[in-house]
Symmetry: C2
Subunit: 154 residues, 2 copies
């Protein structure tokens, strides 16, 4: 099954968190499950805060890329378009908020998102991170449709 990230155009597929072309990165893969979106990711042994527990910056990164992927998928859905149709939607992060509730053990994590609001070029996504069925962190991302000139010299 193709993940949201498999539909990203090549020139925006180099993100360390979610770019399928970034050989060093996390290459997360996100899917619909009903009205929610799900990414599953197992941290590397060295992606730690203290030994055995996942690094907070990794958790923030997973929430970030999961949410921009969710924003794109939600925008296709809201327009009744297939993800393979053109022009492609791609989102960047306007703001990221994470509440760390408990230490997150290094096991397969489930990142689960829900679209809170779509407004113009902006999508707000609420996300939970769970380990062994327990929510260890909650996130909220304001994702913004990528400007055409994003990352070009000014």
């Amino acid at each position: 099954m193709k993940a949201f990230q498999d539909y990203y155009p090549e020139n925006v597929s180099h993100c360390y968190g979610c770019g399928s072309q970034n050989q060093h990165g996390h290459r997360i893969r996100t899917f619909w499950e009903g009205d929610e979106t799900v990414t599953r990711y197992t941290p590397q042994a060295w992606e730690t805060s203290v030994p055995g527990f996942a690094y907070g910056g990794l958790i923030a990164s997973l929430i970030d890329c999961h949410s921009t992927g969710t924003a794109a998928a939600a925008m296709y859905r809201s327009e009744g378009r297939e993800m393979s149709s053109q022009p492609a939607f791609r989102f960047v992060t306007g703001s990221l908020h994470v509440d760390f509730k408990k230490p997150t053990p290094i096991v397969e994590l489930e990142i689960r998102g829900r679209v809170k609001e779509i407004k113009g070029r902006k999508v707000v996504v609420e996300t939970t991170v769970s380990a062994n069925g327990v929510v260890t962190a909650r996130g909220e991302v304001v994702a913004v449709q990528m400007p055409e000139d994003f990352g070009t010299p000014r």
Copy 2:
């Protein structure tokens, strides 16, 4: 000169962002400059959002670890203690907020922090990330003194 992170006890020096013992990690180093704290970090070529620009998750990670380090240093200062004195202060992240203002180019970044508030076991740190003298992201972290039993099985 010793960085804040050089004073972390060995058992909490394995963080992917700031642990001096994590050979895979960023190993950031933070210092006082007057009443502000400064970390300088140059992203790896592959730590990208789009090619040539730094990954948002990395920026969040730098803000996170810079802020927990700042929190520890500030707590020593507020108690009039040397950072080499015992018991050691070490902080974890309660919450992390990042506003991404502009794309951040891959150059040496300056992460600069300021203590907004110290209240009991909690320190609030405001941070900017600058590239070529321009602020590209702003962060706020609520850092909480690490519980004695952090990361031990329950």
